[in-house]
């Protein structure tokens, strides 16, 4: 049974001077008990989609249903069955304890006190911050605040829970705990976990299915494994010395479908990750780079990742896509 259904959803932001198509005819279905990832670079439309699904924004056209309720016509009903958390909002009130903060948020959903107390203890235990519950918020470390934020999103026992870049800035240990929690919530409590992220590793590790989004359009939706299987072209990493030279756009190299460049300005080296039309183009790419003054120090064939799937669809990596939006 689908807990999130999105049909032909479009959202346009208009100002006097600009018209931005943030979502372009998006179609999705997310099942009960599924961990679903929305993967794309910053500015791809992930947050806009979550804001529509959490009733904060109206779509320009199309339809979205969450837990069986229309996000436009039945916004109040949707709000009662969802949870939401992002790494960018404040966790709560600084001079109030973690426990009181969680109690406050439970009251926004009308959770009875005894039930709220039980859930606070349960979530604190799951996220391992019981010993922090009676400390004021400003005394908590960033890691504990982030855990509190996640507990807040689950305090009302939601049917569908939305997380927007939940592990941004989190330490490795906390991020691992959080990912385990997402999977547990989906498997044990049959919640739909809807995760917007630009973290490829996260999407691959925990998502049952992933939708790749760019410039408001869904490029592909499938399991991470199937998405990678669709990429039948070789992925090669070229280690180069770029002192005094410019790599330029990898797509301008003959035989390259797309690529992404990670520069290390200190050592004046660059890792160029490219997807080739086929293996035979490798020598040609090396020659073309050397003609541009870029010395190729070595190369290796890689297993494809979800970013490679993205590159194969749009020709560039997340970093290039984000830079192009800044211009």
């Amino acid at each position: 049974m689908a807990n999130v259904e999105v049909e032909s959803l479009t959202r346009v932001f208009e100002t006097r001077s600009r018209r931005v198509l943030a979502l372009d005819n998006v179609n999705l279905e997310v099942e009960k008990g599924e961990v679903f990832g929305l993967l794309g670079p910053n500015g791809a439309g992930k947050t806009t989609l979550i804001r529509i699904l959490t009733t904060l924004l109206l779509p320009t056209s199309g339809r979205a249903v969450v837990g069986g309720f229309d996000v436009v016509k039945e916004a109040k009903k949707v709000r009662g069955i969802i949870g939401f958390s992002s790494s960018s909002e404040r966790v709560g009130f600084d001079f109030v304890t973690a426990r009181r903060n969680l109690w406050f948020f439970s009251q926004l959903y009308g959770v009875p006190k005894s039930e709220a107390d039980r859930r606070i203890e349960e979530l604190a235990s799951l996220l391992e911050f019981q010993d922090q519950l009676d400390r004021k918020l400003y005394m908590l470390t960033t890691g504990y605040k982030q855990r509190l934020n996640l507990a807040r999103a689950l305090i009302n026992d939601p049917t569908v829970v939305f997380f927007d870049e939940p592990t941004n800035g989190m330490d490795v240990f906390s991020a691992k705990k959080v990912r385990e929690l997402f999977v547990r919530e989906a498997r044990v409590n049959s919640r739909t976990v809807f995760l917007a992220t630009h973290n490829m590793f996260e999407a691959e590790e925990i998502c049952d299915r992933v939708a790749i989004i760019d410039r408001g359009r869904i490029l592909a939706v499938d399991t991470p494994e199937n998405l990678k299987l669709t990429l039948d072209k070789p992925v090669v990493m070229l280690e180069t010395d770029v002192a005094g030279a410019s790599v330029g756009d990898p797509r301008t190299l003959d035989g390259v479908v797309g690529g992404t460049v990670k520069l290390d300005s200190e050592s004046e080296t660059a890792n160029i990750r490219v997807i080739l039309r086929d293996e035979d183009y490798l020598d040609k790419v090396v020659t073309l780079l050397e003609r541009r003054g870029v010395k190729v120090l070595g190369y290796q064939r890689l297993e494809p990742t979800l970013e490679d799937v993205f590159i194969s669809k749009v020709g560039a990596g997340f970093a290039e896509r984000e830079r192009s939006l800044e211009v």
């Binding site: 932001f13 806009t48 804001r51 959490t54 009733t55 904060l56 924004l57 109206l58 109040k76 709000r79 009662g80 969802i82 939401f84 992002s86 960018s88 909002e89 404040r90 709560g92 009130f93 600084d94 001079f95 109030v96 009181r100 903060n101 109690w103 406050f104 948020f105 009251q107 926004l108 959903y109 009308g110 004021k136 807040r152 009302n156």
Partner: protein, 271 residues
């Protein structure tokens, strides 16, 4: 129906509770909230005393007690939703089933309860230092005090919606409003009526501010023992002002919420 009422009450109660806990949890805030009005009151009371108008010292003390509320309305009511928007908390409120009206009413109640000790501290210290001639508390005084707070916090609700639209400029508007409104409303001196040193035109403008009407009536009840019989026009005006600002504020808030869902930039700070 019953569940919506229960939710409304839970939300209002919890927001009030959190406001009170947050207020008492921050000792510095109490120092600022008590210290500012107290020092101003004492300074003015000394000035009145040495200027040969000792009966005005009471005005300064009473004004200090009410100034704490005025500061609370501007900074902790009017500007609150704007701060909540910038910190992402407003998003959490909107995406929950909690009625915004309950949140605002809870915030007001919490603000009133949280400011009460600051207000009482100013009144008690001021009274001990200057011994102004207060009349015993009366029904009229209680009514005026309640209606003044209601009208003030109603104004806070109305301003909070406006500030959501204003964005970052809200703080500047607050700064710009604080002193002129304090002056016009006569927190520390009679700004309307026969004893007012202000021209009639300015008195007319000042009378549009609920705080002016409230302060004037409070002074008359506290220092001149006027009762409901004499003060009914002020009571009526305050009641109308309170009702109008609350209704206007809640309507504006509904509009802002609806408009925000269309434009996308009123309810959340776009990053």
């Amino acid at each position: 129906m019953r569940s919506s009422v229960a939710l409304w009450l839970r939300v209002a109660f919890s927001r009030a509770m959190i406001r009170v806990l947050a207020t008492y949890g921050d000792p510095l805030w109490i120092v600022v909230n008590v210290g500012g009005p107290l020092l101003t009151s004492i300074a003015l009371a000394f000035l009145y005393k040495f200027a040969g108008i000792p009966q005005f010292t009471g005005f300064a003390i009473l004004g200090g007690g009410i100034a704490a509320y005025w500061g609370n309305v501007l900074w902790s009511m009017a500007a609150q939703l704007n701060w909540d928007k910038r910190s992402g908390m407003l998003y959490l409120y909107i995406s929950s089933p909690a009625p915004l009206t309950a949140l605002l009413v809870g915030m007001s109640l919490g603000g009133i309860l949280g400011t009460l000790p600051s207000s009482l501290t100013v009144l008690i210290i001021g009274t001990l230092l200057f011994n102004p001639p207060f009349s015993p508390p009366t029904l009229a005084l209680a009514l005026i005090f309640m209606l003044t707070l209601l009208a003030l916090y109603g104004m806070g609700i109305a301003l909070s919606s406006l500030y959501l639209i204003l964005g970052r400029e809200a703080e500047e508007v607050n700064e710009a409003l604080y002193e002129p409104v304090s002056f016009l409303s006569g927190i520390y001196f009679p700004s309307i009526g026969r004893a007012s040193p202000l021209p009639l035109a300015i008195q007319a403008v000042a009378s549009l501010i609920p705080l002016t009407i409230g302060m004037d009536a409070l002074r008359r009840a506290v220092f001149f023992s006027e009762g409901v019989g004499e003060l009914w026009p002020s009571l009526l005006t305050l009641a109308v002002m309170a009702q109008a600002s609350i209704i206007l504020g809640l309507k504006a808030l509904n509009y802002v919420e609806r408009r925000g869902r269309v434009t996308g930039d009123i309810l959340v700070a776009l990053r």
